[in-house]
């Protein structure tokens, strides 16, 4: 049997597995090795039950009060305790993954690979560079590979393991000290909408919306009529029309919905970087020369203040 691979899971604020984990497992499956999953946190019993039903071989659990808040520093210490056992260490290229995986890699003197979109072989990966304008195929010469995964690029590994998943509780001699205090968390309410990362439909707004009030009043009902998520351009976030975690693009979130509707968004390279994998792109913009029309499957030129309410009404009363 070849050396197993390790996938480090991430938990939601309610202490459940993030759905993105299934996509990281999808990437791990391409390596044709046993998959182990590591859970890190405190009071994990509920999520352990959930994780024991994953299609994996072994579940490792690091449960300790010092791990109650996910910090890059403490996560790094825990993964480091077992990293030598694995040929590959994978995690989502999320805010958390981006925080700790480079830390671990540096401590182990291993060059890491960020944000992969394909696996060509166990040592060769494809990753976007220059805001996704180009894709680089990179071979990693390290004996062990540390990789963060763009979850929208991999199909989720569904189902459960046919064999019982074995469980190993980690007990470190030195549980990490907590060097950083998290004194506040602000997660805005999701308004009952799906998370941007997994939504089948995304309605995104840009500077063209004109104000925070118009953003919600026009796009909220459209997103809800489509059971979709809201997204935004950087300009819309900078102007305070939408919260930061809705930013789609090179330096925001990457989405891969079946339907992406860009409203009042010009289509800068940095924005397009986040929507390349959408199946169908619709653009609504009053400027017929806006670059967004260059990638849109269906383009509608006109004033969003007229078009969006019409569209929402037609969806509600077909």
């Amino acid at each position: 049997m070849s050396t197993p691979v390790l996938v480090v899971a991430e938990l939601t604020s309610d202490g459940l597995l993030k759905p993105a984990l299934r996509s990281v497992l999808g990437a791990a499956a391409a390596l044709n090795a046993e998959i182990h999953v590591l859970l890190i946190g405190h009071q994990l019993e509920t999520v352990i039950d959930e994780a024991l039903r994953l299609p994996i071989t072994r579940l490792l659990v690091a449960d300790h009060p010092s791990l109650a808040v996910p910090l890059a520093e403490t996560t790094t210490t825990v993964v480091r305790a077992i990293s030598q056992r694995y040929s590959h260490i994978l995690t989502a290229a999320s805010a958390q993954g981006k925080g700790w995986l480079p830390r671990l890699a540096a401590l182990e003197d291993v060059a890491m690979i960020s944000d992969i979109v394909a696996i060509e072989s166990p040592d060769t990966f494809v990753r976007p560079i220059y805001a996704g304008s180009l894709w680089a195929t990179v071979r990693c010469l390290e004996p062990r590979k540390f990789v963060s995964v763009r979850v929208t690029a991999f199909s989720p590994l569904n189902g459960a393991s046919s064999e019982p998943v074995s469980r190993e509780n980690l007990s470190l001699d030195d549980w990490p000290a907590v060097p950083v205090i998290r004194s506040a968390v602000h997660e805005h309410p999701d308004e009952g909408r799906p998370a941007l990362e997994n939504a089948r439909t995304v309605v995104s707004g840009g500077r063209g919306l004109g104000s925070a009030e118009q953003f919600e009043a026009l796009l909220g009902p459209l997103a809800d009529a489509l059971h979709g998520a809201l997204g935004a351009s950087r300009a819309a976030v900078d102007l305070g029309y939408a919260p930061n975690d809705l930013q789609v693009g090179q330096t925001g979130k990457v989405v891969a919905p079946d339907l992406y509707i860009a409203v009042g968004i010009s289509g800068a390279i940095q924005h397009l970087a986040g929507i390349q994998a959408a199946k169908v792109i619709v653009a609504i913009n009053k400027d017929p020369d806006a670059p967004i029309f260059g990638v849109a499957d269906y383009g509608l030129v006109g004033d969003l203040h007229e078009i969006v309410p019409q569209l929402t009404a037609s969806l509600k009363n077909p």
Partner: protein, 250 residues
């Protein structure tokens, strides 16, 4: 408090990158290069801490071949007190840059490093965290606000669900996100003055760092292109196509 701001010179953000015809790399010949936007934000944050009397000196550093000095000139024109050029050949991997920066931090006795959350060319997003690890310092990545009181830092950072506030002590590494500040522009007189300021030159060898490539770029190519789309004339036509042609609306 001494602050180090690592800056990278990259293809200007408004230019779309193209692959070399043989696919061996990115064709940058003759194209406009600029400071990485996140590094301009990092420099602005450092300058504001100094202007508020919280920092004594802002040092910028860039690692690479001769042209990276142009980025350092920009940083000097924006207000950095000193510039360091770490001469190193070829395209540097983030781990290598982190090792070079660690040596600079030790040599300069720096208390705080503020760097970009990612370089918009390689889009790696690794260097700051790697540097923090090598120094065994705490980190606060993707900063949207920085408050500083003596050796105590409070950093609001952007996360996947909103924001969180971290409290940590210097020495530390902070990486910047887009909304931390709006960088100033360099004035013409300052650009002229920056031309005459000295840039201290260091080498990887003198810093005790051996450079070995651990990653090999086999190919650089355009991603799969999308099929061309169509213009529609009305909301009715759009909905009809979404339902009956694309089948993404039921």
């Amino acid at each position: 408090m001494k602050i180090l701001v690592p800056v990278k010179r990259v293809l200007d953000y408004a230019i779309k990158a193209r692959a070399k015809s043989d696919g061996s790399g990115v064709d940058l010949a003759g194209l406009k290069m600029s400071l990485n936007p996140f590094d301009e934000i990092a420099l602005e944050a450092a300058l504001r801490l100094k202007e508020a009397g919280l920092a004594s000196e802002v040092i910028c550093v860039s690692c690479g071949e001769t042209p990276v000095q142009e980025g350092l000139r920009t940083a000097l024109a924006l207000g950095a007190d000193r510039a360091l050029w770490v001469e190193a050949p070829g395209e540097l991997e983030p781990l290598t840059v982190a090792k070079l920066l660690r040596a600079v931090v030790v040599q300069e006795q720096v208390d705080l490093v503020i760097c970009g959350k990612q370089a918009i060319d390689d889009d790696a997003g690794q260097t700051g965290q790697m540097l923090a690890a090598l120094l065994d310092w705490s980190q606060a990545t993707q900063a949207a606000a920085i408050h500083c009181e003596g050796s105590r830092l409070e950093v609001v950072r952007e996360t996947d669900g909103g924001t969180e506030t971290l409290q940590l002590n210097t020495p530390a590494v902070i990486t910047t996100d887009l909304r931390l500040n709006e960088p100033r522009y360099a004035t013409l007189p300052n650009i002229m003055k920056a031309r005459k300021k000295p840039i201290d030159q260091l080498t990887a060898g003198a810093l005790g760092v051996t450079i070995t490539a651990r990653l090999q770029t086999l190919r650089v190519a355009e991603p799969p292109v999308r099929a061309p789309g169509i213009r529609v004339n009305s909301v009715e036509q759009l909905l009809d196509l979404l339902k009956n042609q694309a089948k993404v609306v039921s």
